[in-house]
């Protein structure tokens, strides 16, 4: 308790306006939330510029370099889309889980298991080496989705059955997945002692635009592959599930108010399992698409942390499936241009700055700041 009768702290009276923070009574307009995301990205670019400046670089040149090497020509736009493809899928995987407030931090591990599942078809081998390409695509896809989903199922069952915190269990599953993959690339499928498997035969690859260069010369050298179509279709499917289906309604209701959902007779445990299966399946599909569309062999370095970037993408897109596509292209560009950037932690740091600003700016969707003229008393 202060002795002063005035509730306002003394010393602020010289300022003719005062700021008042009030909870929003109405939902903010629809454009507001995307604008916040955009503002967060712009501000983080400024902060990034400041850090690059501190490190002795030229921020303007760096950003022009990023823009040129990710959107400067048809060829690099195609490369950006290749990087965006797995990001869209893991971004969707995180979005659908986060919408129900299930914190699936394990997309990275589910991605690895998806890649492993796809490799299994080619390397075990499940299919004969000269099986038709369409059959390879279907089976590797099914296997990738299956193993990704299984990897998501384990923490889901633990959560539903034993109430085990899914943040930690999904994260632990990431480390286990990486060791699992390592065992196979070092020991079982090692190609002549190297820490990678043999190159998949051509008919196990996803078709790329460049494969059609004979018919359409403009496609020459373009690496964009069929996985992008899977990713875009998956975005539409996730959008339809979330907004148009009964299941999506249940997911959103549990996310907004689990008690209300429980009283409405919705089984939360069943939805935890189903959502984690879908989320893991999407991340597994990302792994399959990356392994059959880009890398064409199983090896250690198949992901520069796609699964973790997916978390930020989901948040940047405000869990909107179409927003995920836009955010993924942005981050695809950042990863593509960031490959040769030194030190190598810069993309991680910029992602961290963006995420911190995003979560901080969420404040403005829940509160307004009213500026009023201070009255003379």
């Amino acid at each position: 308790m202060t002795d002063s009768p005035s509730p306002k702290p003394a010393g602020q009276n010289w300022f003719p306006y005062r700021f008042k923070v009030e909870p929003r009574l109405k939902e903010p307009p629809a454009w507001f939330s995307p604008m916040l995301s955009l503002a967060a990205v712009v501000v983080s670019l400024f902060i990034g510029a400041f850090i690059i400046h501190l490190a002795g670089g030229d921020p303007w040149k760096t950003y022009v370099h990023i823009a040129k090497s990710s959107f400067g020509s048809v060829g690099v736009i195609s490369d950006t889309l290749v990087k965006a493809t797995p990001l869209i899928l893991v971004g969707l995987a995180c979005s659908i889980a986060f919408r129900m407030r299930i914190w699936n931090i394990g997309a990275e591990g589910q991605f690895f298991l998806g890649a492993w599942g796809a490799s299994l078809i080619v390397l075990l081998p499940v299919l004969p080496e000269d099986a038709p390409q369409w059959l390879f695509i279907l089976t590797t896809m099914a296997s990738g989705i299956l193993f990704g989903a299984l990897w998501g199922l384990i923490p889901a069952v633990l959560k539903a059955r034993f109430n085990v915190n899914e943040i930690i269990s999904t994260l632990m599953m990431n480390y286990i997945a990486i060791s699992w993959n390592n065992y196979f690339i070092y020991a079982v499928w090692s190609d002549g002692g190297f820490q990678m498997t043999r190159m998949f035969q051509r008919n196990a690859w996803l078709p790329r635009l460049a494969d059609y260069a004979k018919e359409i010369p403009a496609f020459r050298g373009l690496t964009t592959h069929l996985g992008l179509v899977f990713a875009l279709l998956a975005a539409v499917v996730v959008y339809l599930i979330l907004t148009k289906s009964q299941w999506g309604y249940e997911i959103r209701l549990i996310g907004d108010n689990p008690n209300a959902a429980h009283y409405a007779g919705i089984s939360i445990n069943k939805n935890i399992i189903l959502v984690m299966l879908l989320s893991g399946g999407l991340a597994g599909l990302a792994g399959m698409s990356e392994i059959t569309g880009v890398v064409h062999r199983l090896q250690g370095a198949i992901s520069p942390g796609y699964g973790f970037t997916g978390i930020i993408i989901a948040w940047l897109a405000k869990l909107n499936p179409f927003g995920v596509i836009i955010a993924s292209i942005l981050f695809g560009a950042l990863i593509l241009a960031g490959r040769e950037m030194q030190p190598h932690g810069i993309p991680t740091m910029i992602q961290g700055v963006i995420m911190v600003l995003l979560i901080a700016s969420d404040f403005f969707t829940r509160y307004t700041i009213r500026i009023t003229r201070r009255m003379e008393e």
Partner: protein
Amino acid sequence: MDLIIVLSAGVATGTALLFATVGEIFAERSGVMNLGVEGMMLLGAMTAYSVSASSGSPWLGALAGMLAAGLISQIHAYISITLKADQVVSGLALNFLASGVSLVLGEGLNSLKGVPALPFFSIPLLVNIPILGDILFKNQSVLVYIGYLLFPLAWYFINRTRPGLHLRAVGEYPSAADSQGINVIGLRYFYTFVGGLLAGLGGAAISLAISPGWFSEKTSAGLGWIAVGLVIFAQWDPIRAAGGSYIFGALRRLILDIQGPTTILGLRNPFYYNPYYGFFLQMLPYAFTVVVLVLGSREAIRKRMGTPAALGLPYVRGQRGL
């Protein structure tokens, strides 16, 4: 493979885990869940190593590591306490930020040679206790001994002192605490800071004592996340946290050592003859964390206790609820 060496090294590794876990217990007991422990540990390890290299004083390094992690924890405190954002998302964001900053600023540190580490010594008299003396008091880092003091003191502070009562009140029933004139917001900021300091000390313990050096994100290798899991297993009790930490430390060390001998208990050692089986051993600490979480969660359900009631909830004065 000598069991005493495994246990004694396990106590050392467990010390890093102990600091981080006890720090997170302080933060969570006040109602703030901070998932950024892994990032804060990395930042602490990087800063401690870097400052120790440039100043020549490992003590200054450890202090700088603590302060760096403590300061960055205040970003999470501001976002989750003042801006009342979701603590899960904010903690994850802090984790990305702190890891990214550590990787950028730590670039090149791994090539440094002869960075001074914290001293190792034996405790006279106590070291003469058979077996236990060799495990606990023989040629350990000074931080290990600080760890022995920390967890009983933390337990005493939380359960037997007046400030500890305030800490628990703020995490269990903040509006009641507020009505008694306890500064809920201030205490939550303070204990988030304490959590950061201790996570930073955990990081410094890795880079300056247990496995001296800077190995990018491999420096902490998920220890921060294991610490978050151990908090649940420990039921927010520093003494149980210590038990869990030391067991985990021994497990990590055992995995390294079990691949050495040709036979174990007279049987052919499969890990020696096929070193690739080591990848399955590497999974064990993470798989074990999940098992420990299952045990902790079952117990929490059975006893209907443990979790601070206001954990994860922002406090708004005058609003209904806790």
